[in-house]
């Protein structure tokens, strides 16, 4: 009886207290773009807080009525603060509240793609992908957005230490090991669902390299259902971009589809004649069979063709008073034509099966095929003067008398056929004077071919690919204990196809496929001058393959396994991998100079390597976390570094062996409502690397190969990133990267020629202690961001870069006589700004944003460059270094509509 009465009394009390004079606010919280309800949003007012439930509904009790400042926040969304007038009693509905999803609203910065590589130097394009700017790590997103245009590389690592995966398919190009973002450019809107690491923290999707993994998830059901249209305008690599994406979301029949198309175009880019023409397509289809099985299909490609801009010597920039001078173009019949056009089309198809047999086990398997063409064009010529406008003999510095120098400088200033390529002159040469008769043409005795043999042509230097990949990984949690197991198998069967094609005969009728450099040295030897003894004196027309043709075969089997232990306060992991790698060269032409080792399959090179890694995390409290990772391993050499001159023969670099790495890193992470901070440090050592450089040597009048081995590199430094909420609408961030990246050995170098078998030189390159080039080793940025509750935002960032070094020519450093340190470039600072606003109109969500880069128009910031491989000791100014400048003021404006 007493129990029943006390229960009733309790209930009465509850009712009484509930209906007492208590104020509260409530409402529904929705995603501004998709209109979906959001769960788990933290609602704060005065000292109280609450979370929205699975129906997007929140209620927050307050002590009394009045005016309150209410803040809504959730990871992945822009925080919102608003004023609310709360009634003294009862619940005041202040909704619906719309939060803007950060991943849809990223400063959509496809960072400047710099692929200005001269044929003689292997300075490659390495860009920080714009996707990294969507990382939630304050350091990584700043590095991508602000530091990217200065060619900054995280930890100084080359991009082969970073992997990119799309729908489970690893998208690093096999021969160089690097991911090239141009292969899927323009598909930003369908690549926002990514898991990004930039250090050795394991992701579970593969055995990542030291620089981490960007894992793009393309499951069709995860995309926001509806349509999104985007138009962008810019003056960077291209002027216009239009993207359209349509998603069905998961439908009742358990299918989901997403399609996306994008076009980026401009007749002129930032540098003259850098036109841009690219169309990209994406489709994803998913079928969810049941909770245990789902299948996701993804196909994508980016078809692009763009004119490239090249670096030049400072003398040339000064001559034309323009640090963005481009030597690769000229006028043809009054119109601009670029000689260096990069193009590609490499469709990727992948099918991923996700199997969840139990809630604690997951198996992801992907099978895929990636194939297509890629290449860049270039002028080629025979028996005629060099058509390049900045050839050293056409510059004032070639002359020693000042009157002559002034005469040439005046020609540069006034005559566009001197300053740029004279296309009309190339056609004139071919058409007027090109008639030539080839005896025994196409290997047929007595067959004389008569016609116009072009002096000048445009050739396309191609490297096509065909790759089959199987990738499977599993995760299993042993729920009874705290142990987990994670592992996988990755199989790669790759064939590359390398050759030249005649792209344009420039008014002529044919090209003769012989080695003109061998012809000069062995003029009476009909066999030695052939590029293909199996097809001597070949008459080549537009579209024909010529000069060289070989296939690169690379097969890899990588098995990995990791165990992890998860306790309350800490977690640890350890594991390793075993990799079998084989590669060989298959020559399709028998080179006259190397008849015995150029045609057919070369010896198979085989490597068995392994790696070990361990690390963990210690959570001091929920706010303070410590992480550490250690890694040791060996890697097989890359195909492109293994052969001395794969175009002509199958000779391997001397001292071919695996490279070894040792790396440790660690960090402290702090997270509070007002401050997010990360401090990390790293030390990485890469030993026994190889590097091969090919270029044309003026004095020797031959192609020459510098092959270096036993290269040791060391990367160490500190990274700091912090974001501080000054007020609920204003936040500041500070990012610093201080590193020291150096060479730690004196590599061995072998110099060989391509027009005979002679070994020219062997020696040591005394480059120990030299700083690694191509990235600022110190970078700092400080920024302010304002988020208005009225759905607009703005910000400004100031950055400072220092310790930038030039890429050096190893040969002067092989002896005392010409040894110098590589040039250090000046420090620089830049200022960037951004602003934007979004609106919701009925069903439509509209967002407009602008990114303004280099607001002060700093045009004297040299971001990098290289010493030319040709070297004249008496007159070094003839082959001065070539430089790249940071673009002046540039912008990127984005307008998107979703519904």
């Amino acid at each position: 009886m007493l129990a029943k009465f006390s229960w009733l009394l309790g209930l009465l009390l509850l009712v009484v207290t509930a209906s007492a004079q208590e104020a509260a606010i409530s409402g529904l919280i929705k995603d501004a773009e998709s209109n979906q309800l959001i769960e788990g949003v933290k609602v704060e007012a005065s000292d109280k807080s609450s979370l929205s439930d699975s129906k997007g509904y929140f209620i927050l009790k307050l002590d009394k009525g009045g005016n309150y400042e209410v803040t809504f926040s959730r990871e992945g969304y822009r925080s919102l603060t608003m004023q609310a007038k709360v009634g003294a009693e009862g619940t005041t509905d202040i909704g619906p509240i719309f939060l803007v999803n950060l991943t849809t609203d990223i400063q959509d910065v496809p960072t400047i793609t710099i692929s200005d590589s001269d044929s003689e130097n292997t300075l490659e394009s390495q860009t920080i992908p714009g996707l990294l700017s969507s990382s939630r790590d304050v350091f990584v997103s700043a590095a991508a957005y602000t530091f990217g245009p200065a060619r900054y590389r995280i930890r100084g690592y080359d991009s082969e230490l970073q992997s990119v995966m799309i729908n489970g398919f690893i998208m690093n190009e096999v021969e160089s090991g690097r991911p090239y973002w141009s292969n899927w450019g323009g598909l930003n809107d369908v690549m926002r669902n990514t898991v990004i690491t930039t250090d050795a923290d394991p992701t579970g999707a593969m055995y990542e390299p030291l620089g981490g993994l960007t894992n793009v998830l393309t499951t069709a059901s995860e995309y926001r259902p509806g349509v999104k249209l985007v138009y962008s305008n810019s003056n960077r690599s291209y002027r216009n971009r239009a993207m359209a994406t349509y998603s069905t979301g998961l439908m009742d029949n358990n299918w989901a589809f997403t399609v996306s198309g994008s076009r980026r175009w401009s007749q002129e880019g930032y540098k003259e004649a850098t036109f841009y023409d690219s169309n990209s397509f994406f489709v994803a289809a998913e079928k969810v069979f049941n909770e245990k099985h789902r299948l996701n299909f993804t196909a994508l490609t980016s078809m692009y063709s763009r004119g490239v801009g090249g670096g030049a010597m400072q003398e040339v920039y000064d001559l034309v008073d323009d640090n963005y001078y481009n030597p690769y173009w000229g006028y043809q019949n009054g119109n601009k034509r670029n000689a260096r056009v990069r193009s590609g089309n490499k469709p990727m198809f992948s099918l991923q099966h996700i199997w969840t047999p139990t809630p604690s086990t997951k198996v992801r398997s992907t099978v895929g095929y990636w194939f297509g063409k890629g290449g860049y064009t270039s002028l080629n010529w025979n028996n005629a003067k060099d058509p390049r406008p900045d050839y050293y003999r056409y510059l004032p510095s070639y002359y020693t008398n000042s009157e002559d120098q002034e005469r040439i400088a005046e020609m540069w200033r006034t005559d566009p056929t001197v300053r740029q390529i004279d296309w009309d002159g190339l056609y004139r040469a071919n058409r007027n004077n090109g008639y030539f008769e080839v005896p025994n043409a196409n290997g047929v005795e007595g067959n004389t071919y008569k016609g116009i043999r072009s002096f000048y042509i445009v050739e396309d230097r191609r490297n096509d690919i065909s790759q089959f990949q199987f990738n499977s990984n599993f995760e299993h949690d042993f729920n009874e204990s705290n142990w987990g197991l994670n592992g996988g198998l990755n199989v790669d069967i790759y064939t590359g196809d390398v050759f030249n094609v005649v792209d344009d005969l420039l008014g002529g009728e044919y090209w003769l496929d012989i080695d003109q450099f061998a012809e000069r040295d062995f003029p009476d030897n009909v066999d030695i001058i052939q590029n293909d003894l199996n097809n001597p004196n070949r008459i080549v027309k537009e579209g024909d393959i010529y000069s060289h043709h070989y296939k690169s075969h690379v097969n890899t089997y990588n098995l990995w396994m990791m165990a992890n232990y998860n306790a309350d306060k800490y977690k640890v992991y350890f594991g390793g991998n075993y990799k079998y790698n084989e590669f060989w060269r298959e020559g399709l032409m028998r080179k006259g100079l190397f008849p015995d080792n150029s045609f057919g399959n070369s010896e198979k090179q085989q490597f068995n390597t392994f790696g070990l890694r361990a690390g963990g995390e210690y959570r001091i409290t929920g706010r303070h976390i410590l992480k550490a990772n250690a890694s040791y391993g060996k890697q097989p050499p890359l195909f492109r570094n293994a052969y001395v001159s794969p175009r002509t023969r199958d000779n391997l670099i001397p001292n071919l062996k695996e490279e070894t790495h040792i790396s440790i890193d660690g960090g402290y992470y702090f997270n509070s409502p007002t401050l997010t901070m990360r401090v990390s440090g790293y030390y990485t050592r890469l030993n026994d690397q190889l590097k091969n450089m090919n270029f044309y040597h003026e004095e020797l009048r031959s192609f020459v190969n510098y092959s270096q081995s036993n290269i040791d590199k060391q990367y160490m430094g500190l990274e700091f990133g912090a974001e501080y909420k000054i007020t609920s609408t204003l936040s500041a961030n500070l990012v610093a990267s201080v590193g020291e990246y150096t060479y730690q050995s004196n590599p061995d170098v072998t110099v060989t020629q391509d027009n005979n078998r002679e070994l020219l030189e062997t020696g040591k390159v005394y480059s120990q202690g030299f700083k690694i080039s191509g990235t600022p080793q110190q970078a700092f940025a400080i920024g302010l961001k304002y988020n208005s509750p009225k759905y607009w935002w703005a910000g400004v960032t100031a950055s400072y870069f220092d310790q930038i070094f030039m890429d050096f020519n190893p040969i002067p450093r092989t002896s005392d006589q010409y040894w110098t340190l590589p040039e250090q470039l000046d420090a620089a600072y830049t200022i960037d700004a951004f602003a934007g606003k979004s609106w919701r109109l009925d069903d439509f969500f509209i967002s407009l944003s602008a990114n303004l880069s280099n607001v002060t128009n700093n045009q004297s910031f040299i971001t990098g460059g290289y010493e030319q491989l040709r070297f004249n000791s008496e007159r070094p100014e003839l082959f001065d270094s070539k430089y790249y400048y940071y673009y002046g003021f540039n912008y990127f404006i984005n307008l998107s509509v979703s519904f």
């Binding site: 239009a242 198309g261 036109f275 005469r407 009309d424």
Partner: protein, 278 residues
């Protein structure tokens, strides 16, 4: 339903607008530009323009710019592609009146027996050891001497191949050689290398640390007349021992100051196999 239609329609419309935008690299071939030849002048008339300079001491000479709208028309008698490496960035042109050396920016592209027309306006005449040559803009070399840059071949020159055309060498004896034969193709008969030259090579080829060097070798007839055979150290026959017989010798007549020289244009035109002068 309305929503799906709107979705699809907007996508199609949007992408159609985008994909109809055109970008081009302007690769269409330009219209034909036939070569327009100036009024023909004889090679001797052209050389005459330099006559005054030859009267000066060589340190006072200056290259002469040809301002007239003249051209020369002749036949190639030596080129730097088929001369076994004996010539470099140059060719010799001969017409009915005489011959002249022409220097170019690059090697190749011209072949013995090609017909050529060279427009002369804007080109220059100078000399090397009193031997007149045609070239491009003058400049000062390291020792502050006047030199001529090579001619941009395809800007000034038109070449035509005439089937079966062949310039035969003029047969002369050494004492018949004179200024009118300068720069032309000649054939000397019954000549041999002087005794003291026997055993030497045509020139000094590049070998190890030794740099390539051009050399003079004395060629004589049976009457005591002689002429210098000058050969380049970069030629493929530079290291060949001088033939010891007597026979015929075809080459281009040049000079250096007061010394007459003959330069080989095809090594197989040197046929010194017969018995020597008594």
């Amino acid at each position: 339903m309305k929503r799906t239609k709107l979705n699809i329609l907007s996508l199609i419309l949007f992408l159609t607008i985008a994909f109809s935008s055109c970008v081009t690299n302007n690769e269409d071939a330009p219209p034909l530009e036939p070569f327009v030849a100036f009024e023909k002048a004889s090679i001797t008339d052209v050389k005459e323009l330099y006559a005054d300079q030859l009267n000066e001491h060589w340190t006072n000479r200056e290259p002469v710019e040809i301002r007239y709208e003249w051209s020369i028309k002749g036949i190639i008698i030596a080129d730097d592609k088929t001369s076994n490496g004996n010539f470099y960035k140059e060719a010799y042109v001969q017409d009915e009146s005489g011959g002249i050396r022409v220097t170019f920016l690059s090697t190749g592209g011209l072949y013995v027996n090609d017909s050529v027309i060279i427009n002369l306006q804007g080109l220059y005449l100078s000399d090397y050891g009193d031997f007149i040559q045609l070239g491009g803009d003058p400049y000062f070399d390291d020792s502050n001497n006047y030199r001529l840059t090579g001619i941009d071949k395809h800007k000034y020159l038109k070449r035509t191949v005439i089937e079966g055309q062949k310039q035969l060498p003029t047969e002369l004896t050494i004492d018949e050689l004179s200024e009118e034969h300068m720069g032309t193709l000649i054939k000397l008969k019954d000549v041999q290398f002087a005794n003291f030259e026997l055993g030497k090579t045509f020139a000094t080829p590049e070998e190890g640390d030794t740099e390539a060097r051009s050399e003079n070798r004395e060629l004589e007839d049976c009457n005591g007349n002689d002429i210098i055979v000058r050969s380049s150290g970069y030629s493929t026959f530079a290291g060949t021992i001088l033939p010891e017989g007597k026979g015929s010798f075809v080459g281009v007549l040049t000079k250096f100051n007061s010394d007459y020289q003959i330069q080989i244009r095809h090594f197989d035109e040197v046929n010194l196999e017969g018995p020597r002068c008594n």
